[in-house]
C-alpha cells in the first residue's frame, strides 16, 4: 500500500491524498444514493423508501464521525511518548522516546529477537549433544602403555559410544525447541499483522465501510469493516505498547534492573551482539548463525586432532570433559535453555495472543456500538 510507516510525514500524505478523498467520495456517492432514494420515495409516494433514506443519513454521519475519530486517535497516539507514560506509572525512565505505534512494533520486534535468542541457545545445546552422542570409540584389548595390543595383529576389542547417553536431555530440549520455534513464528506473525495495519491496508476498510454500512443488507458487513479498522488501529497497538512498558521483565532487556541483578549464568538476559557471543556461544562476527559453520569448517579438524592426541597420550578416547572444553568452556546450561524457552513462550505467544483476543473482542464490542451483533467466536478459535 505505502512504503512509509504510520506517524511519518509520508504516511500523513498518503492518508490525506488517498484515504480521506476515498472516504469523501464514498460519503458523497452514498449521499447521492440516499438522496435518489428519498426522491424516488416521494415520487412513488413510498414511505418505506423515504424513512430508509432518513435513517441512512444519520448512519452516514456516524460513519464519517468514526473516520474523524480514528484520525484524531492516530494523531494522539503518534504524539504520546511511552517513555513518559512509563515514568508516570512505574517511576522508571526508559531510554527510548517512542510513540504508541512504535512502542507496539518495538515490543514485537524484541519478543521475536528474544525467542530467536532462545532458539539459538537451545539449538546450540541440541547440536552439541547430538555430536556427543554419535561419537564412536573402539577400545583395543590388552592395553599396554596406552596402546591396545589387541589391534596389532588383528582386531580385538570393544566398540562403544562413550557419550551416547543424551537421549533424555535431547528429548527435553527438542520439546522446548519446538515450542520456542512456534513462539518465534508467532512473534513474527503478530509483527506482520501490525505492519499490515501500519502500512495502511486497514484504512481501505474505512471508505468501504462508510459506503457499505448504508447499503441494504450490508449494514453488518460495513460495521464490521469500520470496527476492524478502529480495533486494529487503536486497541491492538495500545495493548502491545503497554507490554512494551513491561519489557524489562517480559523480554529481559539486558540493561534492565531485572537482568543486572541476575546472577551469572543467566542466558535469557544475553543478547546476540554482546554477552551471548562472548560468554555462551563463542560465535565470531556479526551473527551467531555462524556458529555451526565455523565448527564444521575449522573446528572439526581441531577437535578430531584433540581427540586423537588424547587417545594416544592418555590411552583413552575423548572424555566428556574434553568435549565440554570445546563446546561449553563456561559450563553447559540445558536447564537454563529450557527456562529460556518457557520465558520466550510467555513473551512471544501468551501475551501477544491475549492482545489479539482483546482486539477481536473489541471488534465485536464496537460493532455492537454501531447497532450490529457480530459473532466472531469462530475467528477467536483460529487464534
Amino acid at each position: 500500500m505505502v512504503e512509509a510507516m504510520i506517524c511519518t510525514p509520508d504516511f500523513q500524505a498518503f492518508f490525506d491524498a488517498t484515504i480521506l478523498p476515498l472516504v469523501a467520495a464514498a460519503s458523497v456517492v452514498t449521499g447521492f444514493l440516499i438522496a435518489f432514494s428519498y426522491m424516488l420515495g416521494n415520487l412513488l409516494n413510498n414511505p418505506k423508501l423515504t424513512v430508509w433514506a432518513k435513517t441512512e443519513v444519520l448512519q452516514v454521519f456516524i460513519s464519517v464521525a468514526s473516520v474523524f475519530f480514528i484520525f484524531i486517535a492516530i494523531n494522539t497516539f503518534c504524539a504520546i511518548n511511552m517513555g513518559e507514560v512509563a515514568s508516570f506509572f512505574t517511576g522508571v525512565e526508559t531510554q527510548h522516546d517512542l510513540n504508541v505505534y512504535d512502542a507496539a512494533g518495538e515490543y514485537l520486534a524484541e519478543s521475536a529477537l528474544y525467542s530467536h535468542n532462545a532458539l539459538t541457545v537451545i539449538r546450540y545445546h541440541l547440536q552439541a549433544y547430538t555430536i556427543y552422542a554419535y561419537l564412536n570409540a573402539f577400545l583395543c584389548d590388552f592395553e599396554f602403555l596406552g596402546i591396545g595390543l589387541g589391534c596389532w595383529y588383528g582386531y580385538s576389542g570393544k566398540y562403544e559410544q562413550p557419550l551416547g547417553g543424551y537421549g533424555a536431555i535431547n528429548a527435553a530440549l527438542n520439546m522446548v525447541f519446538n515450542s520456542t520455534l512456534i513462539a518465534h513464528f508467532s512473534a513474527l506473525n503478530f509483527l506482520f499483522i501490525l505492519l499490515f495495519v501500519y502500512k495502511g491496508f486497514v484504512f481501505i476498510f474505512l471508505p468501504m465501510g462508510v459506503f457499505l454500512r448504508s447499503m441494504p443488507y450490508m449494514r453488518s458487513f460495513g460495521s464490521l469493516l469500520i470496527a476492524v479498522a478502529l480495533s486494529f488501529l487503536i486497541v491492538y497497538p495500545l495493548m502491545l505498547s503497554i507490554y512494551y512498558l513491561m519489557g524489562d521483565v517480559l523480554v529481559d532487556r539486558p540493561d534492565s534492573p531485572h537482568c543486572l541483578s541476575c546472577s551469572d549464568p543467566c542466558p535469557h538476559c544475553y543478547t546476540p551482539s554482546t554477552a551471548l557471543s562472548d560468554k555462551f556461544l563463542h560465535c565470531q562476527g556479526e551473527s551467531c548463525e555462524k556458529v555451526f559453520d565455523d565448527w564444521a569448517s575449522a573446528g572439526i579438524i581441531q577437535s578430531i586432532g584433540t581427540m586423537l592426541v588424547q587417545s594416544f597420550t592418555f590411552g583413552q578416547v575423548t572424555t566428556e570433559d574434553t568435549m565440554d572444553s570445546m563446546y561449553f568452556p563456561d559450563g553447559e546450561h540445558p536447564k537454563d535453555a529450557i527456562t529460556f524457552g518457557a520465558y520466550a513462550f510467555i513473551a512471544a505467544v501468551f501475551m501477544p495472543t491475549a492482545a489479539l483476543l482483546a482486539t477481536i473482542a473489541s471488534v465485536s464490542y464496537i460493532a455492537r456500538l454501531y447497532g450490529e451483533e457480530i459473532n466472531l467466536s469462530r475467528i477467536t478459535q483460529l487464534v
Binding site: F89, E160, Y166
Partner: protein, 344 residues
C-alpha cells in the same frame, strides 16, 4: 496541546506511591474526564453526550467498588498465604508463590539431572559390543543389548520433566510480571482506558488481566500446594512409602563379551520393588536390575512432576483464564480467552 493535556491528566499519577493510590487517582482522572464530557454536553445541549457521561459514571462507580473489593481480597489472601502452614517468611502472596515455585523447580531440576545421568550411564552400557577378528576371521557379540530398552523410557521421562520445568518457569515469569506490573501498571491504565467507549474492551481486558495475574494465578498455585501438602501428610499414615523417598539408581557395568543366559524369568516377574538379590549376574539380569532400580528412583519424583509441576500450573492457569473471562464480562466487553486455555 495533546501532549500537554495528557501530561496534565497523568501528572497526579506521578505522585502515587502504591497501587491503591494509583488506582484511586486513575478513577479520579476518569471521573474528571467524564465531567468534561458532561459539561460539553450540557453546554451545547447535546443530550446524548450527557447520557453517555452518566452511563460511564455509573460504570466508574462499579469499578471503584471492584477496586475496593480487590483491596480487601488482597489483604485477606496475603494474610492467609503467609500463615504458618504455608510460607510464614513470605512478604505477601506473590512472594509465597515464588517460594513454592522455586522449591518445586529445584526438585524438578534435580530429577532432570538424575535422568540425564542415568541416561548417560545406560546408553554407554547399551552401546557396547565386543569384537575379535584375526586375519578377517572372527566374531562380534552385542552382549549388552538388554540395556538398550532402558533408553526410550528415559527419553520420555526427560521430555515430561522438561515440560514440567518449562511450565514452572513460565509460571514464575507470570508471577514476576504480576509482582512488577499487575497493579502498578495494568490496573490504572485499564481504569483510564475503560472510561472511553471505544477502548472499553481493551481497558476491561487490562483490568481483568491485572487482577487475575495478581490474585488468581498465585491463589491457584497456593491452592494446589495446600492440596498436595495435605495429601502427602495424610498418605503417610495410610500408604507405605508413598511417595517413596528418593533413591539413586545403580547402573552396573556391562561386559559386552558375556553371553551368559539370564536368571529364571519367573523370578523376575514375581519381583516387587523390594529385594533385588534374586537376580543373577548375567548382562540381562544386570539390565533388569537397572530397570527396577530406575523405576523405583523415578517413581519417587512422580508426585512432584505430575501433581506439583504439571497439575498445579494447569489449575492456576485455568483459574486465571476463567477469571479474565468473568471479569471482562463484568467490565462490559467479554474477551473469549479460551484460545489461551488451549495452550495449557
Amino acid at each position: 496541546m495533546k501532549k500537554l493535556l495528557l501530561f496534565l491528566l497523568l501528572i497526579p499519577l506521578a505522585f502515587a506511591a502504591s497501587w491503591h493510590e494509583l488506582a484511586a487517582l486513575a478513577v479520579m482522572v476518569s471521573a474528571a474526564l467524564l465531567g468534561v464530557v458532561y459539561m460539553i454536553g450540557f453546554g451545547f445541549g447535546i443530550n446524548e453526550l450527557q447520557m453517555m457521561a452518566r452511563e460511564e459514571f455509573f460504570q466508574l462507580i462499579v469499578l471503584a467498588v471492584l477496586v475496593a473489593v480487590l483491596t480487601g481480597s488482597d489483604s485477606i489472601l496475603n494474610s492467609i498465604s503467609t500463615l504458618e502452614p504455608l510460607k510464614p517468611g513470605a512478604a505477601d502472596m506473590q512472594d509465597a508463590t515464588l517460594d513454592i515455585l522455586q522449591e518445586n523447580r529445584e526438585q524438578v531440576e534435580g530429577l532432570l539431572d538424575d535422568i540425564a545421568s542415568y541416561d548417560k550411564q545406560v546408553s554407554k552400557q547399551a552401546s557396547k559390543s565386543s569384537q575379535c577378528n584375526l586375519m578377517s576371521m572372527g566374531y562380534s557379540v552385542s552382549g549388552c543389548g538388554g540395556f538398550s530398552i532402558l533408553a526410550p523410557p528415559l527419553s520420555m521421562a526427560g521430555g515430561i520433566t522438561a515440560f514440567a520445568l518449562a511450565e514452572l518457569s513460565a509460571m514464575e515469569r507470570l508471577v514476576e510480571l504480576a509482582s512488577s506490573y499487575a497493579l502498578a501498571l495494568l490496573l490504572p491504565i485499564g481504569i483510564l482506558l475503560r472510561t472511553f467507549k471505544i477502548t472499553r474492551g481493551g481497558g476491561g481486558f487490562l483490568i481483568a488481566l491485572g487482577i487475575s495475574l495478581h490474585l488468581m494465578l498465585p491463589i491457584g498455585i497456593i491452592f494446589n500446594e495446600m492440596l498436595a501438602e495435605t495429601f502427602q501428610d495424610s498418605s503417610e499414615d495410610h500408604i507405605d512409602e508413598y511417595p517413596p523417598d528418593g533413591v539413586s539408581a545403580d547402573i552396573p557395568e556391562c561386559n559386552p563379551g558375556d553371553t551368559k543366559a539370564p536368571h529364571l524369568a519367573v523370578e523376575i516377574v514375581t519381583l516387587g520393588l523390594g529385594s533385588l538379590t534374586d537376580l543373577g549376574d548375567s548382562n540381562e539380569d544386570q539390565a533388569t536390575s537397572a530397570y527396577l532400580n530406575l523405576r523405583r528412583s523415578i517413581r519417587s519424583h512422580l508426585f512432584t512432576i505430575l501433581i506439583k509441576a504439571t497439575l498445579g500450573p494447569i489449575i492456576a492457569l485455568l483459574m486465571m483464564t476463567s477469571s479474565i473471562r468473568a471479569l471482562t464480562h463484568l467490565a462490559g466487553a467479554e474477551v473469549d480467552v479460551s484460545a489461551i486455555s488451549r495452550f495449557i
